[in-house]
Subunit: 230 residues, 2 copies
DNA sequence: TTTCAGAAATTGTGATCACAAAAGTAGATT
DNA sequence: AATCTACTTTTGTGATCACAATTTCTGAAA
C-alpha cells in the first residue's frame, strides 16, 4: 500500500511545519481516511507536504506515542491493524473513560455551555439528514469533546482522543460499508442529564451512546469489516 | 532552572539513539527525577547523551504527546506544573483507568502469573524495609503493570503510564519530604481477589490502593508540597 | 514456472548547518 | 537605583547529506 492522499487542511500562519504535519495527519486518521495496515513513508509525506523529513518524522513519532501509528521492527511505519478482541477492548475503555469524563464535567457546565452543546447536536442531525457522514462524525466528536472540556482541570481528553485515533481506521471502513449512520439518540438523554446536573445519568447516557453506537458492532461484524478492508 | 542530571540507564545495543533518549527521559520523569517547572533544552540533552539535536528533539516531542513534557508558546520545553485541582483529576482518572484495567485482566491471569505478581509485592516490601524509596516505587509500578498486562488485548496500559508520567514530578517531591513510604497494603487484598477471579473485588482493591496511597494527599497537602518545590 | 542470488532503489537514522526568534547581558540614560 | 536600548548568546526549527538496513527489481539457474 502506498502513502494515502491526505484530506485538505488549511495551514494557520505561524504554525510550525512539524505542528502542521502532525495536525493534518492526526485529523486524517481520526476521521477514518486511512485503512488499517496502510504503510506510510517519511519522504512520501514530506513531499506531499512540500517539506523535509525532519519535521515529518517528528510528527510521525508523536502519532505513534498516542497509538495512531506504529513503527514496526523493520522500521516500517503503518496504521495499526485491529482485531475484534482489540476493538472490544477499545470500546470498553472508551466507555470507562468518557463516562468518567462526563461525570466530572457535569458540575462545571453552565447553562450557556449546555446551549452550545445542544447546537452541536442539531448540527449532527443536519449532517446525517444530508447524508454527510464525515461531517456528522466530526460534529459528533465535537459534541463529546465539548461536554468533557467543560471541566477546566480536565486531564482525560488527550487519552480519549487517543482512543478515537485508534478507532479511526475501522470507523472509516464502517462508514464506507454502512448504508447510513443510524445514530441511536442518547444525546438528548445526555443533555437532559446535564441540565439536571445529574452526574450518574450523564455518565450513563454517554456510556449508552457509545455502547449502542460504534460499540454496537459485535465480534463478528468487526471481523467482516476487517475482511472487507483486506 | 537548568537541564537536570539524568539517572544512569544502560543502553541496549541495537537501540536507536532516539529510542534511547526517549526511554531514558521517560524513566527519569516517571520516577520523579525532575521537578515541576524544570526546563529542558534540546542541545543540553544532546550533549548529555553525546548525540545530536535531531533524535533528542524527536524524543522530547514524543514525551509531550503523552503529557510528560510541555512545549510552551515561546518554544521553551518544561516539565508541566501541577495544581491541586489537576492533581485531583489525575488521581480520579488513575482510579477509573486502573480499576477498569484490573477488572479486564482478572479472567486472563493464570495462577502462575499471579505467583509472579505476589513475588513483586514481596519485592516492594523488601525495598520499603530497606528504605529504598526509588526501588519501592519502581517495584510498585511493576506490580500494577503486571496485573493489567495479563489481559493480552489490553489497550489501557499506555494511557495509565501517561498518568504515571504526569504524576511523576510531584511524586519526586513527595518522596523527598515524606519520612518514609507508608504503603497501606491493599496489595494483599488485590491478590486475593485475583486468586478468586473476583473482578469487582480486584477493581475495588486497586481503587482503594490508589485512593489510600498517593491519592491520600488532599488539596492542602499537595499545595504544600508544590510550595516546597518552588 | 519457480527459486534464488546479486544489483539497484527505497527508506529510516542521525549529524550538521544556516536561520530566526527568544532570552540574557551590558552599558548608558534618567 | 531603576529603566531602557543595543548587542551577544542561547535555543528551537527545518533542510540537507551521508550511511546502513531493508525492500524491490532483475536475470540466471534449476
Amino acid at each position: 500500500m502506498k502513502t494515502p492522499v491526505l484530506p485538505a487542511f488549511p495551514r494557520p500562519e505561524g504554525m510550525t511545519t512539524h505542528d502542521y504535519a502532525f495536525a493534518r495527519l492526526r485529523q486524517a486518521i481520526m476521521v477514518g481516511a486511512f485503512r488499517p495496515g496502510t504503510s506510510i513513508t517519511i519522504r512520501g509525506l514530506a513531499d506531499a507536504l512540500e517539506s523535509s523529513p525532519t519535521p515529518v518524522r517528528e510528527a510521525l513519532r508523536q502519532l505513534t506515542s498516542i497509538g495512531a501509528l506504529q513503527f514496526l521492527e523493520n522500521r516500517r511505519i503503518v496504521v495499526p491493524r485491529i482485531t475484534p478482541a482489540r476493538f472490544e477492548e477499545l470500546i470498553s475503555l472508551r466507555i470507562a473513560l468518557e463516562s468518567h469524563a462526563a461525570r466530572r464535567a457535569v458540575a462545571h457546565l453552565s447553562d450557556r455551555q449546555i446551549d452550545r452543546i445542544v447546537a452541536l447536536d442539531d448540527a449532527i442531525e443536519t449532517a446525517i439528514a444530508a447524508g454527510e457522514k464525515a461531517e456528522a462524525l466530526i460534529a459528533n466528536q465535537e459534541f463529546h469533546r465539548r461536554i468533557y472540556m467543560g471541566n477546566p482541570d480536565q486531564v482525560a481528553m488527550p487519552l480519549i482522543e487517543s482512543i478515537w485515533l485508534q478507532l479511526g481506521p475501522i470507523l472509516g471502513i464502517a462508514m464506507e460499508h454502512v448504508a447510513e449512520l443510524y445514530v441511536i439518540d442518547r444525546h438528548r438523554e445526555a443533555i437532559e442529564a446535564l441540565r439536571r446536573r445529574d452526574e450518574d445519568a450523564a455518565a450513563e447516557a454517554i456510556a449508552a451512546d457509545i455502547r449502542e453506537g460504534i460499540g454496537g458492532f459485535d465480534h463478528e461484524a468487526v471481523g467482516k469489516l476487517l475482511a472487507l478492508a483486506g
